[in-house]
C-alpha cells in the first residue's frame, strides 16, 4: 500500500490512468474504483499506462480482471500501454490479455481510440 500511487486524467472521451509502484495489496483497489468512476461518468475509452508499475501479484491481476469485466459491462474499450514483458506474460497466462488492446505507449493507444467511434 505504501508503494502504490495512482494518477488519472481525462480528455474528451478518453481517460488515462497511471498506476505507480507495486500493485500487490488491497490499497491498489483504488485502480478499480477510478476506472468505475470514469465509466460511470460516461467515458467509454480507458487507457492504463504501466510505465511506472514495478510489480503485480494475483491481487493486482484480480483488480485488472475487475476492470476488464466492468469495461465489458459498459461496452467500453480498454487499452494497456508500456507493459513490461513479465507483466504481459502474466496477463497472457491468466487469459486477461485477449480482452484488452496492448500498445507500446500512451500516444499510440490514444490515436487508436480517437480513431474509434
Amino acid at each position: 500500500m505504501n508503494n502504490f500511487s495512482i494518477s488519472s486524467r481525462s480528455a474528451q472521451d478518453v481517460a488515462v490512468i497511471t498506476p505507480r509502484g507495486y500493485i500487490n495489496d488491497m490499497g491498489a483497489i483504488r485502480l478499480e474504483k477510478t476506472s468505475e468512476q470514469f465509466l460511470g461518468r460516461g467515458i467509454r475509452k480507458l487507457v492504463v499506462n504501466f510505465a511506472d508499475v514495478q510489480f503485480i501479484n494475483t491481487i493486482g491481476i484480480s483488480i485488472f480482471t475487475g476492470i476488464v469485466q466492468k469495461t465489458r459491462e459498459y461496452d467500453s474499450l480498454l487499452c494497456f500501454t508500456n507493459l513490461k514483458k513479465i507483466h504481459c506474460d502474466i496477463f497472457d497466462m491468466v487469459g486477461l490479455i485477449k480482452h484488452v488492446k496492448v500498445f507500446s505507449n500512451e500516444e499510440e493507444a490514444i490515436t487508436f481510440l480517437n480513431g474509434r467511434g
Partner: protein, 411 residues
C-alpha cells in the same frame, strides 16, 4: 498447452499459493485478510465475481463474509440457507460445479443469490469434521473453463481458507469466554468486597460508640498510603485491612467493649487479645493482597516498642502497620467514647504530635497531616479524610499544618 506454458502456470500457481498462505496467516482482522485472500484467488483464475461465507451453526446458514464484484443489497443480509445433511453429501473442500448441484434443494433455496454471484463453482469448507464456511467462484473472464489443475489448486485453497475460518471461530469463542470470565471476576470481586463490608459492619455493631469506625479507619489508611505512592492493588489491601482490623473483637465480651469506666486488669487483658485473634482469623484467609494479617495483628504496636501483642520496635513494623496504627488512633480520638468526649481536629493534631516518635511514626504523621492540609485546602480530587469525619467537627485553619517538620518528634 505446451510444457513450457504448463510449467509457467505451475510456478505462478505455487507462488500465488505461498502469497495466499502468508495472507491468511497474517494477524489482520479476519474480514480484511479474507478479502485480500479472495482477491488472490480470483486473480489466479481471472474471476470477476466471488464470495466467501462463514457457516453459522446456530442460524444454520452461510453468512456473507467478503465478496468481489457483488453489487447492491446490504451485504450483511446476504446468506445462503443450508440444510446440513444436504451439504454433508457434498465432498468436503472440493470444488463442485453448480450445474451438478442444480437439482438439489440447496441450489433451489439459494438460486437467486447464486445467479447474482454468477456462481460456477461452490466449495464447502470443512475442517476436523466442522463445516466452517464456503467459497463461491463466478465464471472466468471470457467464460473460460475451470481445468483439472485449477480444481487441484482450489482444493489447497479450500483447505487453507477452512483452517483460517476455523481458527477465527476458535479465537472468537475464546474471546467470548475471556470476556465472560472478566464479567464473572468483577461480580465476584464486588461480592467479596460487599462481604468484607458486611463483616466490618458486624464488628462495629458490637460497639455502641464506634459505628462505622472500621470504614473510617480504612479511608484514613488509604488516604495516607495513597499520599505515600502505594499502588492500586496495595491500596485495596490497605482498605480491606482497615475494614477488618478489629475483627478479633467479635469474640470479646460486648460488656467489656462498651464499659463506660476504667477496665479491670483481666478485662484489659481480654480486650488486648483482639489483634492476635484478628490475625488468627485472617491468616486463614487466602487474600489477594499482601500482609493484611500482619497489619491487623500489629495495629496496636508502638514505634517505641511498648505496644501489643508483640512489643515490636519501629524497625520491625511495616509501613502498613504504622499507617493503620495512626488511622485507628486518630479515629478513636475524633469520636466520642464511653469514657471521654471526642477531640476536635486541632486537639487531635496536638495529641498526635505529642505521641510522635513514641506511639506513632513521625514520617507517617507528617504524611497524614500533609493530606489533611491538602483536603482542607480543597486540593485533593477524591478526599477520604474530611468526608469520613463526623459532621459538626470544627475544622482548623490549614495554616496549622505549616509548622509540621518533616520528621516531627515529641517536644
Amino acid at each position: 498447452m505446451n510444457k513450457s506454458v504448463q510449467l509457467k502456470r505451475l510456478l505462478f500457481s505455487m507462488e500465488s499459493l505461498v502469497d495466499l498462505g502468508q495472507e491468511v496467516s497474517s494477524s489482520k482482522e479476519l474480514a480484511k485478510k479474507m478479502k485480500a485472500a479472495l482477491y488472490m484467488v480470483t486473480g489466479i483464475f481471472s474471476v470477476p465475481t466471488a464470495a466467501v461465507f462463514v457457516y453459522d451453526p446456530q442460524k444454520k446458514c452461510f453468512l456473507h463474509l467478503v465478496d468481489k464484484g457483488l453489487r447492491g443489497k446490504s451485504k450483511k443480509e446476504i446468506r445462503l440457507t443450508v440444510v446440513a445433511r444436504h451439504i454433508k453429501r457434498l465432498k468436503m473442500n472440493d470444488p463442485h460445479d453448480m450445474h451438478a448441484l442444480a437439482k438439489t434443494m440447496f441450489y433451489r433455496q439459494n438460486q437467486e443469490l447464486f445467479a447474482k454471484l454468477q456462481t460456477k463453482i461452490f466449495i464447502p469448507l470443512w475442517i476436523k469434521g466442522n463445516l466452517v464456511g464456503a467459497i463461491t467462484l463466478g465464471k472466468k473472464l471470457g467464460n473460460a473453463v475451470y481445468r483439472s489443475e485449477d480444481r487441484d489448486i482450489l482444493r489447497i485453497i479450500a483447505h487453507q481458507t477452512a483452517m483460517t475460518l476455523y481458527n477465527a471461530r476458535l479465537f472468537l469463542e475464546l474471546t467470548k469466554k475471556v470476556s465472560e470470565n472478566k464479567r464473572l471476576y468483577t461480580t465476584m470481586q464486588k461480592i467479596y468486597h460487599d462481604t468484607i463490608q458486611a463483616f466490618a459492619a458486624a464488628i462495629d455493631a458490637k460497639d455502641d460508640y464506634t459505628k462505622d469506625h472500621s470504614s473510617r479507619v480504612a479511608n484514613y489508611s488509604v488516604a495516607i498510603a495513597r499520599e505515600l505512592g502505594w499502588k492500586p492493588l496495595a491500596l485495596e489491601g490497605m482498605h480491606v485491612a482497615g475494614l477488618l482490623h478489629d475483627i478479633g473483637k467479635i469474640i470479646v465480651d460486648r460488656e467489656i467493649i462498651n464499659k463506660g469506666e476504667k477496665l479491670t486488669t483481666p478485662e484489659e487483658c481480654e480486650i488486648k487479645k483482639h489483634p492476635q485473634i484478628s490475625y488468627d482469623i485472617l491468616s486463614k484467609v487466602k487474600f489477594p493482597w499482601k500482609d493484611i494479617e500482619y497489619f491487623v495483628r500489629h495495629h496496636h504496636e508502638r514505634v517505641d516498642g511498648k505496644g501489643y501483642p508483640d512489643a515490636l520496635g519501629s524497625s520491625e513494623l511495616s509501613e502498613g502497620v504504622k499507617i493503620l496504627a495512626l488511622a485507628d488512633a486518630f479515629d478513636a480520638m475524633t469520636t466520642d467514647r464511653p469514657y471521654r468526649r471526642k477531640l476536635t481536629l486541632e486537639e487531635a493534631y496536638y495529641e498526635i504530635l505529642r505521641c510522635s516518635g513514641t506511639q506513632f511514626d513521625p514520617h507517617i504523621i507528617h504524611t497524614f497531616f500533609m493530606v489533611l492540609k491538602k483536603e482542607l485546602q480543597g486540593n485533593v480530587k477524591d478526599p477520604l479524610i474530611l468526608p469520613s469525619l463526623n459532621s459538626g467537627q470544627p475544622l482548623p485553619d490549614p495554616v496549622l499544618f505549616d509548622q509540621i517538620p518533616e520528621h516531627p518528634v515529641a517536644s
